[in-house]
Symmetry: C2
Subunit: 406 residues, 2 copies
């Protein structure tokens, strides 16, 4: 008998038929004698509908009141899931985030989980029930309803798995697991049996959107092993866990392509102390996230100058460009160029730490494919390059073939 | 500065425009310096939508889980109402029933309010906020979400008015108040300035569905004076309060017609002790509510027998008839006749206690109108008669003219 936490996203509970399918799967584990905690999201489309209602009133509704509204989405789906289980003869009880003992900080719409007191969850499980918990939500110590922001239901599941010392945490999605690369780019993509937290984090930050980084980080910090798998079949998924020795035998775990980055290049920036600090303080003050920064070495003799490039999310490009333009008279650079037509290709693997020549092989592969590299950035387990957007998928295929196919 | 509790029903918050209208009205009182607690129902249609979702799974969903689902309806409308007030610059905070301190018993879908601890409501009011409370819901001492059943939002408002010692409790509806009779039957119907709790209760039980009896009873038991008025205009409504001496000067407060009653007549019932007890125990065991019972005196000489008639709600008629038919061999009555085509006309007034000849005048009026009376029942402040359904409205007009015009 195991204690299993299962999480189902909005598309898995999008309508009554899908809710029945979730219930069938849960019932199977319950029939085996497992204790099952089920975390569900709001029915797909429901959150947008609720946001739409509020937006009819104002573009900037109170975040506290938005949490009050949004929490109803999961409250509806947990009760429907419980009822679906009842119709199969399985005892089940739904709990809101607050009822499940999920206490958060006071930051409405993107609250952090502070702690979980799962006494009621355990009591209900011990009485033979499946316990259905509303994902994405909690309450402050004062009893205000909060929501956890993007990827919040994954976080609820992983945090509940940690708090209840679950034997297994399963994150059900509409894909079979984590792949060596996006299967839509190459049919040579293979599902991974396992991946380390750090590899998963680097892949997520490089555009492979299976899960939000914060949930993976939470799992890493609390040692929660979890499985990403499909709610559409019974195939085993991908286990995400702490790095093991054997994982390092594989040089590269996966290849990702982020098409949502854009590049800003400042030409002829005076090469003086404090210039980079001025630029990136202004950008970060505007809450814009910068991923990659590259500065070439100075050239010329007299007044030394340099070129500086950095990447931001496409959605932030216009804002970032206008901030940079505002610095023009102060910093006296030549000009600022914005470029949306880039792709950021990354290879990720803990094995990189013990293997040499990985970067060389990657660059050689891209070169023989005729793909020009515009920027390079490396970390201990990741190498990222910026290429032309139109070269992106071809570059992924070539790199995937070089590292991950026979 | 007064503390005012206002209640708005589902049609008053049916869409965003109506919610804005509610907010405007609330803002006006707030601008006057009043402390305002607003109780709102779910947006019209929302409750049916949620029930429909559950019914796709089963005809008899768990009542606990139905409460979980239904409570989301009010949770959405309170937050939208708060946001609407924010857009007008009025500070407002929404609270679920649980957050407002409304504690109920454990009877899901028709819970009774046990007590209210309104500390948070007072704190928020004292900080200058309008407080928006979800009607129709509460929680058990163990933290399970409950709903209060039909008319539950009225009950929330009246109970909150009692718990907070409010100066005024306003129940906003889509009618201007309580009328001497249904204005759709006669344009001579007049809005009442005031009415006693007991008269309101007798009218409610006689088919005038402005409010459910339980809310009026709660108000009576806790001495909450409230006003029934329209959310569509600024007309003063009807004050409902304890009977005063001056109220007795008016003989008849109102005339009601209940078209939802049906009659069952048992012909040739043996006139022996215990027969009525057997019949009405069987009916009440089936949770069927009997309103009026009439038994004629015995006729014949040898084996004495009698006719017995009683009324039940139309929805219960088939069930009641089959129960009675099941008693046939035991009790040995002649036959049981079911009749749906009746109307129950009632006149109500505390003044009746001090005025004689009221019944005589009523019967004479009906007689001169050619309306046959099939059953009669009286209480201290009410006289009810059963007539043919097709005579009902004509009878109301005649009685209303005799007692309430000129």
């Amino acid at each position: 008998m195991a204690l299993i936490v299962q999480k189902y996203g909005g598309s898995s509970v999008a309508d009554i038929d899908r809710i029945k399918n979730v219930a069938k799967r849960v019932a199977k584990y319950h029939a085996q004698g497992d204790q099952v905690v089920v975390v569900v999201s709001a029915m797909k489309g429901q959150t947008d509908h609720l946001i739409g209602l509020a937006k009819e009133l104002t573009d900037i509704p109170s975040e506290r009141e938005m949490d009050m509204i949004l929490a109803t989405g999961e409250q509806t789906s947990i009760a429907l899931t419980a009822i679906a289980l009842h119709t199969m003869g399985v005892p089940a009880v739904s709990l809101t985030g607050a009822q499940a003992g999920i206490i958060t900080d006071l930051v409405h719409t993107k609250a952090k989980i502070r702690n979980i007191t799962p006494e009621q969850v355990h009591e209900l499980l011990d009485a033979g029930n499946v316990v259905i918990v509303a994902g994405f939500q909690g309450q402050t110590p004062d009893g205000h309803i909060t929501t956890l922001g993007r990827g919040g239901s994954d976080l609820t599941a992983i945090a509940l798995a940690a708090a209840t010392n679950a034997d297994l945490c399963q994150i059900y999605t509409d894909v079979d697991g984590v792949y060596t690369t996006d299967p839509r780019i190459t049919d040579q993509a293979q599902k991974l049996e396992e991946i380390s937290y750090d590899e998963m984090l680097e892949l997520a930050s490089s555009g492979a959107k299976v899960m939000q980084s914060r949930s993976v980080e939470f799992a890493k910090n609390h040692g929660v092993v979890f499985e990403v798998r499909s709610s559409l079949n019974d195939n085993p998924g991908t286990i995400v866990k702490e790095e093991t020795k054997s994982m390092e035998d594989v040089v590269i775990r996966g290849v990702s392509l982020d098409k949502n980055q854009a590049k800003i290049t400042l030409v002829n920036v005076p090469d003086k102390p404090g210039v980079a600090a001025t630029i990136f303080k202004a950008i970060s003050d505007a809450a814009i996230n910068v991923d990659m920064i590259v500065q070439n070495i100075s050239h010329g003799d007299g007044n030394k100058s340099t070129d500086m490039s950095f990447t931001v999310g496409k959605a932030d490009l216009a804002k970032a460009k206008s901030i940079i333009d505002g610095l023009h008279s102060g910093i006296q650079f030549g000009e600022a160029l914005a470029d949306e037509d880039i792709g950021m290709l990354s290879i990720v693997g803990v094995g990189m730490k013990n293997h040499t020549g990985v970067a060389t092989k990657m660059f050689a592969t891209l070169s023989s494919e005729g793909v020009n590299i515009e920027m390079i950035s490396t970390s201990e387990i990741k190498i990222s390059v910026v290429v032309r957007l139109e070269d992106g998928e071809r570059a992924v295929k070539a790199v995937h073939a070089a590292f991950l196919e026979e």
